[in-house]
């Protein structure tokens, strides 16, 4: 072994650091995030990454498991009324907020009303059918609905079901986010924007036996390479959203574990079929046959391979083929260049040309370039236009685009992946798709609580929407987590959020 004098010089330095880290790591869980969270108020929160922090900070009425089943958390049980217009919840006994206030039916009522009424609340749409909340007794609350709403329970497994301390919320008003007081396993200690969010163990947590850490520190590190470097250098115990090309090498290293969880969202291409005048000006937006030809010229498996290093499950709908609500009556087509060319001939366009808008994110750009090359075989001339995210959102909103590479983080209930996108004039309907029959079916699926009947309605919706192809669904990416091999109890839940309950670091 060659003599390395520098190492001896830095040895005391390394020792200092190792000591400092060694003492802390037994009790502190250090998590690397892909972005800096936005406001830490469940009513106002608007980002995915904020939910990662909420998973430790704020308990919710319900949670989901690996199979997307509803589990009790703050609510111990639920019961729908016969006409499905009222949901009665039994609240878990003996739960307190971080400030010592009791979490009872009155607190739940306060929170639901706050979600609905606070100016700037992002939960209003999610709880739209909830009209009033009744306190039946100290631990029973009833949500009254204007119409049956099947996705309600799923909404209550996310921020709409998070409960904050009424006392703290009233005192702070809309500044609550700078010092949130919830009832989760960890309470808020400190936040330095873009640097760290520090949470400390809540001694009176109702499930405290399952919590084995004293502190959780979230550090935003936007660059995936640097985030991974932090894990490998020992500064972090867990990172989310690892880059797909890093998986292979990391899995060879026994010191680390990798979780690969198929998301509940998707990656797709949204096509302007009616959002603006531009839809009629290009063959892709004008003619469903051209869109069909476009889909047939894509090799989904090839895309997943080249763009995501196979860390994705290919699909053609807004839910994955493994999802209960996947419509088997609309199967995934295989690449068929001949058929694509024939369709184009029928449509009367031999060399259709259009612009594919993408953001500067590396995988979106890669996807665009690969699609450009793939579809050339059928005669498509795809031009790529890259814009930064904010600008692309603006253009999508105005309908100033022809096709747009867009992904969605997904919601546990399939309604969250389709209503806002395919309903006429809904906020995320960038395609401008509008059909009265689809709207009627979408509303029916919201009102139908029986899963078997609901599935039938969804099959109809899928058949209806997918034949028009306002969105071409490509694949469902894997959430890629990398963490210290000594960390045990990691639950691979498809929403991509790490739960701290049950996590333990082996010595």
């Amino acid at each position: 072994m060659t003599f390395k004098p520098q190492k001896y010089l830095l040895l005391p330095l390394a020792l200092f650091m190792a000591l400092g880290q060694g003492v802390a790591s037994a009790q502190t869980l250090r998590i690397g995030l892909a972005e800096d969270p936005d406001v830490l108020d469940p009513t106002l929160a608007r980002s995915f990454v904020g939910r990662v922090v909420f998973a430790s900070l704020c308990d919710k009425l319900f949670d989901i498991d690996e199979k997307l089943n509803i589990l009790p958390q703050l609510a111990s049980s639920y019961e729908w009324s016969a006409d499905s217009k009222a949901l009665t919840l039994k609240i878990r006994q003996g739960v307190t907020f971080h400030d010592g206030e009791k979490l009872d039916a009155a607190a739940v009522k306060f929170n639901i009303e706050r979600h609905k009424n606070l100016p700037g609340s992002n939960r209003r749409g999610e709880l739209a059918p909830v009209t009033t909340v009744d306190v039946i007794d100290a631990n029973t609350v009833r949500l009254n609905l204007s119409a049956p709403f099947a996705p309600l329970l799923a909404q209550l497994t996310d921020r709409a079901g998070m409960m904050v301390s009424p006392k703290a919320a009233q005192a702070a008003g809309d500044k609550f986010g700078s010092n949130p007081v919830c009832s989760g396993p960890f309470k808020f200690a400190e936040r330095v924007a873009q640097d760290r969010i520090v949470l400390e163990k809540f001694a009176n947590y109702w499930n405290k036996d399952a919590i084995h850490f004293d502190k959780v520190i979230y550090t935003p590190i936007p660059d995936a390479t640097v985030r991974l470097a932090n894990l490998k250098s020992g500064q972090l115990d867990f990172i989310e959203r690892m880059a797909s090309n890093d998986v292979e090498n990391l899995m060879k290293d026994k010191k680390y574990k990798v979780s690969r969880i198929t998301e509940i969202g998707y990656q797709g291409i949204t096509i302007n079929v009616g959002k603006s005048e531009q839809a009629k000006k290009n063959p892709l937006g004008r003619d469903a046959k051209v869109r069909e030809a476009f889909e047939l010229s894509l090799d989904r498996q090839g895309l997943a391979q080249v763009v995501m290093d196979n860390e994705a499950l290919i699909g053609n709908q807004w839910v994955a083929p493994t999802n209960t609500y996947y419509a088997k009556n609309v199967p995934m087509p295989k690449r068929d260049i001949e058929k694509a060319k024939a369709l184009l001939k029928e449509a009367g366009v031999v060399k259709p040309s259009f612009t594919l808008m993408t953001t500067t994110a590396s995988d979106a750009q890669r996807l665009a370039v690969v699609i450009q090359a793939m579809t050339r075989d059928a005669g498509f001339d795809v031009k790529i236009q890259t814009t930064e995210f904010a600008t692309s959102l603006n253009m999508a909103d105005k309908g100033d685009f022809e096709a747009y590479v867009l992904a969605w983080s997904g919601r546990p209930d399939p309604d969250g992946n389709m209503f806002s996108f395919h309903g006429c004039k809904q906020p995320l309907n960038y395609a401008g798709y509008c059909s009265a029959e689809t709207d009627a079916l979408l509303n029916q699926s919201r009102a139908e609580r029986d899963p078997v009947k609901r599935k039938k309605i969804m099959e109809q919706i899928s058949a209806q929407v997918l034949k028009d192809r306002p969105v071409i669904y490509l694949y469902h990416r894997n959430w890629l987590w990398a963490y210290n091999g000594k960390l045990a109890g990691v639950r691979n839940i498809p929403d991509g959020l790490l739960r701290v309950t049950g996590l333990k670091m082996a010595p």
Partner: protein
Amino acid sequence: MSQSLSYTAWLRLRRRPSALIGLAVVIGFILLAILAPYISPQDPIATSWGAIRKAPSAAHWFGTDEIGRDVLSRVIWGTQASLMAGVISVSISLLIGVPIGLLAGFVGGTVDAIISRITDAFLACPFLILAIALAAFLGPSLTNAMVAIGISAAPIFVRLTRGQVIQIKVEDFVEAARSVGNPPWRIALVHILPNILPPLLVQATLAIAAAVIAEASLSFLGLGQQPPAPSWGSMLNTAKNFIEQAPWMAIWPGLSIFLLVLSFNLFGDGLRDALDPRQR
């Protein structure tokens, strides 16, 4: 007078090997950019699903990138983008900055005061932020990045030109020109401008170096040359994600930026020495 200055300058330049090497390398890159269509071994945007991230080999001297394109070809073609980014941005800066600086320095008074305050305001804002805001406004593309960098760097030339003009305009030969009855515009363009060219030239050379890096920075942030067209900066942006698996994707464009910028810097420094009347 200017003729003998440039001859003396050339003699002095010849005695500084570092400057000559810099010049030679720059010329080499310029040739590379011009001859790219002829000497590039492959099509820089031709993808190949089977040859993703392949290490350097006989078929691909610099290896391939994340979608199978030949890195060597992309580096060669990328020379065009980087050189253009450098030269055109600085040309824009000169075209905007020199006339304004000339005006401010020559006319003086309130005009100078207003121009100086505006220039100071621009210079007080972080350069990269100005460039990013302008590039985002204009839309991500190589052309817009060049315009954004050019506009953001113009205040530097305003200040430099103004300073030089103020120094020169009190010289005897300018006094002489004035007393002979030359109109102000003629004095400014014919008498003053040629004499302030040397420091402007030096600064321009050094600015080209900085502009190449600025374009790489903007591309790194997604605001420069757009895919699939190659530019060293955007190649580095993609390469950073694959640095463990495919380091060659980053080494060659990084090295190219380094060599080109270093050469401009060496040449610019040599030029400054050669044109400096204070040195023997």
